[in-house]
């Protein structure tokens, strides 16, 4: 593992469940020798990638990441478009929506639109989910060739719940279903009591893929409502897909 890989691993620790790190926490998280951890955190701080929390020995992300991250988000017209579309769908249906991207075997929400109903799903920003065991993840995995999915999970996977795919064959079958219908669903899978429906769009110009997702409380959302929000999602995705040239949504399958 190179020094840059180590630094990137450190940065990946930060998210909804981790706002700062100590040497010992890094040792525990990454299995790194204590002296390496101490020196790496200090070198990253000195470079500006991290900063200390006041005079403490705690390290958090540094300011220089903010502008670069902003460039990432703004460089992508696909993200911007998908996000605007999702905002409209959320405003109409009242459920929580987010845009998710895949990073390796995980997915992360990068934008978030809280719903307006009394009972709604909480923000998932900054939380990493296993791609194979989430609607957004499966919608994105379905856009990969089978060989690539097999290579990604060459070491196998541990299902987090009984409703998640149980093995490679199960996963591939579900991805084939996603490809056929053009959307993915999840129920009680990453989080209890929550259902989700997700649609992926790929920008053929640069290969970037995003997933638009609506998450809803399973107990209070009946079949008619689920059909309605799925239709809105598929319509919205088709509109963006037409703009960026993603042929997958050219003929939209009937929701059902």
């Amino acid at each position: 593992m190179s020094l840059l890989d180590a630094a990137a691993q450190v940065l990946r620790c930060y998210g909804a469940d981790c706002t700062d790190l100590t040497v010992t926490e890094l040792v525990t998280r990454l299995g790194m020798p204590k002296s390496n951890a101490s020196r790496l955190l200090r070198a990253m701080r000195d470079a500006g990638l991290l900063e200390n929390v006041g005079a403490s020995k705690r390290y958090r992300p540094g300011l220089l990441l903010v502008d670069a991250a902003r460039v990432y988000l703004r460089a992508s017209s696909l993200i911007a478009r998908a996000d605007a579309m999702l905002a409209r769908i959320v405003a109409d249906c009242g459920h929580t929506g987010h845009i998710a991207l895949r990073e390796g075997r995980e997915v992360t929400a990068i934008t978030d639109h809280p719903g307006t109903k009394a009972l709604r799903v909480a923000s998932s920003i900054g939380t990493l989910l296993a791609a194979f065991a989430s609607a957004t993840g499966r919608s994105l995995l379905a856009r990969l060739p089978e060989a690539e999915v097999r290579a990604l999970y060459a070491a196998g996977f541990a299902p987090p719940s009984p409703s998640a795919p149980q093995d490679m064959a199960d996963l591939l079958r579900r991805l084939e279903e996603v490809r056929r219908r053009a959307y993915a669903t999840a129920n009680d899978e990453a989080s209890r009591g929550i259902g989700a429906v997700a649609v992926a769009i790929v920008d053929p110009r640069d290969g970037q893929a995003v997933s638009l997702c609506i998450a809803y409380p399973a107990a209070t959302t009946d079949a008619a409502e689920r059909r309605s929000l799925l239709a809105a999602l598929l319509d919205g995705a088709a509109e963006i897909a037409a703009l960026v040239g993603d042929a997958t949504h050219a003929v939209r399958p009937r929701a059902g």
Copy 2:
């Protein structure tokens, strides 16, 4: 210069005026040998710090920076509070406002609130300004001991305009004025035709400092309006300062 320093320098290139980089551009920007630049960009990409724009040889920030940057912004209740306050002031006065932080000898806007007037100042997000030659920068420098300001500018500075501080004595005199009044101003300094007023708040718990700034078109903003928005800014800053324990704004000097 260590490898991490080099990587951080690359990330600092990204902002409002740079959304992606090639090997040659990096050579030009950082004066780095070509082979080093090629290897560095590739190593950063392989680590996830950067990614290629499609199949091109252009590199842009990688997704992993987004969550870490978000943690930076959310970890700071000071930024959140200052931003909310500024939003209210902007809504009232109609001019453009932003929150700025200092990084070394420069300041960068991290949040932005466009004004509502017909003539308003454009967004400055992602643009670095010289701290000594901007209102936000001077409001933040005034919160440093004089020795620290001298050390920061040990190599001297080149004034970007006739209204900017011309030498160290001039800068120190202005910073003393900022300390006395608790706010900094700029006119025609970083940008022609624009005036700005800025107030800094320091969170004594972790030493974090932010500057709240309102920027306005100099030609159409009369003295009464300037006094009014300065009063709003000072009132807002005093309110936040009381919450975080910054004693500087405990007794607010009369604006004038």
